[in-house]
Each structure stands twice: as C-alpha cells, then as structure tokens.
Symmetry: C2
Subunit: 345 residues, 2 copies
Amino acid sequence: MKILLDGMGGDYAPEEVVKGAVRAAREIQENIAIIGPEEKIRECLEANKLSGENIEIVDATEVITNEEHPAMAVRKKKDSTIVKGMNMLKNGEADIFISGGSTGALLAGGLTILGRIKGIKRPAIAAWFPRAGKKGVTLLLDCGASVEAKSEYLYQYGIMGDIFVRGITGKIAPTVRLLNVGAEEGKGDTLHKEAFDLLKNSYLNFCGNVEARDVVYGDTDIVVMDGFSGNVYLKASEGMASAIMGLFKNKLTEGIRAKFGALLAYSKIKDIKSTFDYSDAGGAPILGLKGAVLKVHGNSRSVEIYYAIHRAVDYVKGDVTGKIKEAIEKVEADKPKATESGFDE
Amino acid sequence: MKILLDGMGGDYAPEEVVKGAVRAAREIQENIAIIGPEEKIRECLEANKLSGENIEIVDATEVITNEEHPAMAVRKKKDSTIVKGMNMLKNGEADIFISGGSTGALLAGGLTILGRIKGIKRPAIAAWFPRAGKKGVTLLLDCGASVEAKSEYLYQYGIMGDIFVRGITGKIAPTVRLLNVGAEEGKGDTLHKEAFDLLKNSYLNFCGNVEARDVVYGDTDIVVMDGFSGNVYLKASEGMASAIMGLFKNKLTEGIRAKFGALLAYSKIKDIKSTFDYSDAGGAPILGLKGAVLKVHGNSRSVEIYYAIHRAVDYVKGDVTGKIKEAIEKVEADKPKATESGFDE
C-alpha cells in the first residue's frame, strides 16, 4: 500500500505534515510518499526523521491556495501537489491521498481527474463527530461537497456512509438518521421529506430524523445531511465548542483563586477538552470518487496527520471505494421509484 | 399596554408562568393578563402573589399540545389559550402575546387569525444569540418558521431584523450578514447567491456572508438565515453548548480534588454559564404578523418569563409591527429587480 501526503496542504505545512508522517512511519508497514517541492520536503525530513522511516518524496513545484478558484487552479497548475496526487491515484501509483489543502480544489481535482464512481450523483465530504456521554463517534455526511442537494444525493450519502462505517468499524448494520428540523416523520422541506422516504425504503438501518440539538447526545452511526445545512451544522458545533473552551481557558486563568481551582481540576478539564477535540478523528474522507481521498483540517498539526495516516490504512484495507462501487451498482439495478424532482443525471 | 401570557404554554406552566408574571408585575406599569383555565390560574396566582400586582385572568378551557397537528388544532380548539390570545391581539384587546406553547400552533394561529403584514411573504422566528468575547447579542432569523425558503423571504428577514434591532436597541444602522457556507461573495447555493444580491442592493447595512463557525465570535447585529439551516444552526449550537456544560458539571463533581477545584473556580464557571445561558434573552419574536407574538422556550422557568415580559414592553413601545408595515410598503414601492425564481405570491 502507498499512502500519499500533500506536503504543502494546510497552515502548518510542510513541517507538521512531515512530522506526522515520520511518527506514523515508525508504526506502520506501508509506504508513505510526500508530494511537494523536493528540496523543501527533504530539509524538513532530515530535520525530523530518526532513521529508517520509509518515506519517499514526490516532487511538485506548485501549490493551490485557498484563495484560488478551485476548478481553474486545478486546470492550470498541473504540477501542483493536489493535481499530482490525484493523477497518481488515477494511475494506480498510490492507494490514498491525504491533504489539508483547499477543499474546493480537492473536490474539483477529484471530480475532473479521478471522476465519480459510476452511478454516484455527487461526492460527499464525511466527517467524524464526537459524542457526549455515549461511546464511539458519529459519521456526518455531506459536510459541504454539494451545497445544492437533491433527495437522491442524500439517499446515496446514506449508502456511502453505511459502507464506510462498516468498512472502518466492522459494525454489521450501522444506524442511519437524517438531519432535519424535527424528529417526527413528515418534518422539513420537500428535499428532506423525499430523502426520508428514499432512506426509509432502502436496505439501510434507517432510524428516522434527528434534530441538530440531539446529534451530539445520540449514538447514531451515520447522520445524513444536505451539504448546506451539514456545513452549517458542523461549523456551528465547532464554533460553539471552541467559544466555550476558550472562555473556560480565559476565565480559569483570571485571578489566583480560579487558577488554583483550575489546577486542581486540571485532569478533568483535559478529559473534556479531549472529548471535543477532533484531532484523533483522522480526517474527512471524500466519498464517491474513483479513488480514496482524505481531507484533513487546514489547521492540522502533526498529531492530526499522524491519526489520518492510521485511518487511511483502515480506509484502504476496508476497500471502501470498491465496496461503494458494488453497492451502487446493486442499488441502481433495483432502484426504488422516487418522485421526479429528486433525481437528475 | 396590555401584555398577554399563555398560562398553559411550556413544560412548567402554569406555575412558572405565573411566578414570572408576578415578579414582572411588581416592576412594570403595564397590564398583564394570563390566559388559561380560570380556577387553575387563580390558585397559582394566589399561591404566588404578594399584593397589588396588576394581573388579570382570561379564561380558556383548552390547551394545544406539541403533539397535535398545529393547523388542525388551531381550527378545532377555539377555546385554547393560543387561539384566544391571537383573537385578543386581532381585536385590539391586547398588545402582545407571550407563549411557551407549540411553535407550530403559534405560527398557524398567527397566520390564520392575525395574518401576515401586507407585502410580507413569510413570518420569521427571530432569536437572540450570545457572543463570545464581544459585547451585545446577535439577532438570528429565520430560526425555522419557513423551512422552504426563497431568496425574497431572506431579503425580507433582513428588513424585519433591521427594524426589530433598531426598535429594541436604538442602534442606527445595525449590521446584517447572511449565514452561508463561506465568507466570500459567490458562495452557497442559488438561494443564498440570490439572497446575497438582494441584501447587497438594499438600504440595509449589509456586510456580506458569515460562516456558521464565526457567528458566535462576531459582532454582527443581525444574521439572516433560511429557516432550515437557521434551525440547524441554532439547535447545533444549543446542543454543543449544553453537551460541554454538562460534561463540565459531571467531570468537576468527580472526585474530591476536582470538586474542590471547581469550588474555587465557581464564580468564573458561573460567568461562563451565564454567557451561554439564554434565559435573559427574553424570547423569540415571530416577525411579519399583524400583531406582536413572542415565543419563549418550552422549558422556560419563571426567570425566562420575567425577562420576556420586559422585552415585550420594549417590543410594543418600539412599535416594531407598525414599522415593519411601513418599511415593507416602501420597499414594495421601489422593489429591486430580482431573478424570477426568488419570488412568489
């Protein structure tokens, strides 16, 4: 197996990418390749590696930034890390591509270079989300790959999520819910009512709607969301978590009394922080492409890269891409009848 | 001014409603009337009031529950607190109606009994949202009145929010942003792109898009949201805030060390709780109806009712309903050209 890393993706690249790769390389048997300006990556590698880590460098002279128009940048920058990574995946020279670069460019590159799995209408960005109180994590998708959703996309997100969770966790029939404005059947706009029906009539272990308030308290394995409100859900949760943790940090360092109190309660506060810390979640797979792409947060540090590499191994071993292909072929063969507006080609 | 209270709305009605009313009645000069089963409300009142509070009872024998179909319940239960409240508003027998009852029934009752202000396409539920670090609160709308939004609704939410914030806070040109999947112009689906253009070309102090992550960190006065993702935004934030605060509560009472630490840091932890405590926000106005309706959370205690009554006084004094009427007439007179799909009648 070869795992490709975008050496220039994210705010702390290439240093933190290299550090994460070096740490992971000591533990896994797979090959790791870092794409980026050869000299720069080599310098970083030499400063960080101990000995014997199996890390190769793939030279790429260009970088696509977040400020560029994704599709245009992918077309123009043929020697960028993202375009090069996608081409290597396409040509079978690697098994998975991990990047903290522009999500738009990863999607654009994924769609134009790799292409969608036959039958898949839209790729989806899937993200692991923490749970309060209950064990495990919840897979959310789509987190913003398609902001203009149709009911059949949502239905397919359910299928892709199911395969991904089964492939990674080994669960037999993971539970699926639909993010909606109310828990009862019949809630929401036309899009979500249609998606509800499609999911309900599928082979999935569909358990109905879930309200945004209850996702974090629940133990649903997969929450299907349209890309717009999915993006809002994820970012609202992130914003609120970071706002509250930030306030705790500020308030508990104000004055000696509070500081001393915080010191005594330190290990517990750390527990809480780690519950809502996304670093061990290991990146967000872009599902539905003809190749495995793992997007990590733009502000990832070496620890996130390290975990993402571990997840990537599971992802490839679970043959998620191949299994999505099989599942969608089967679904297409005996497709349930749906209202016209929910479908497009 | 007469302020009407739904004596049977919410999980802790009528006791907590009555308590909140009694507390507020000692401070304000306005008349307060509580709608509900006369005997029950009277008992509560007698158990709680001290002396001289100016509180009247309006008898209503029925209650609409959250489990009922809103429109059907409003049609059938003519003697329910919600239907009675709306009729009193309509007949000029009261100036504002505060209820912790079913949001769906309040909307259905508002639409069928009061009706929309001429020119307003859809009413909007507006909610005050806390800010981390910056002073003041942010008005979010729509939080779920219309889950099937069109761009012109969003544009009108901006107008209604502007009038409400000016009426309540006295700010001259409150800032308006649009909740979207990215901060840059051109982000989002067709709905949000169209709404962006309408808001940008309006008289409002429109400052562009805002991502869900940044709402709580910002100091925007009004954030315009489509009802579906607005509902998701609000509930995601609530869920995450309550999950983290709950974890802190649990963790900091685990073991003597942490307990003692928490005790020392108590006042600071209380500060944080109060920042994200919605109780003093004072309810969510339903804007766009021909009458002032203030929805309070179903789990409101007397303190929420008390604050809502204070807000209600400002709401009526600010003549928000009258001013929305004027503004929308003016806007209709010189309506900006918009794409066809964004409009409907």
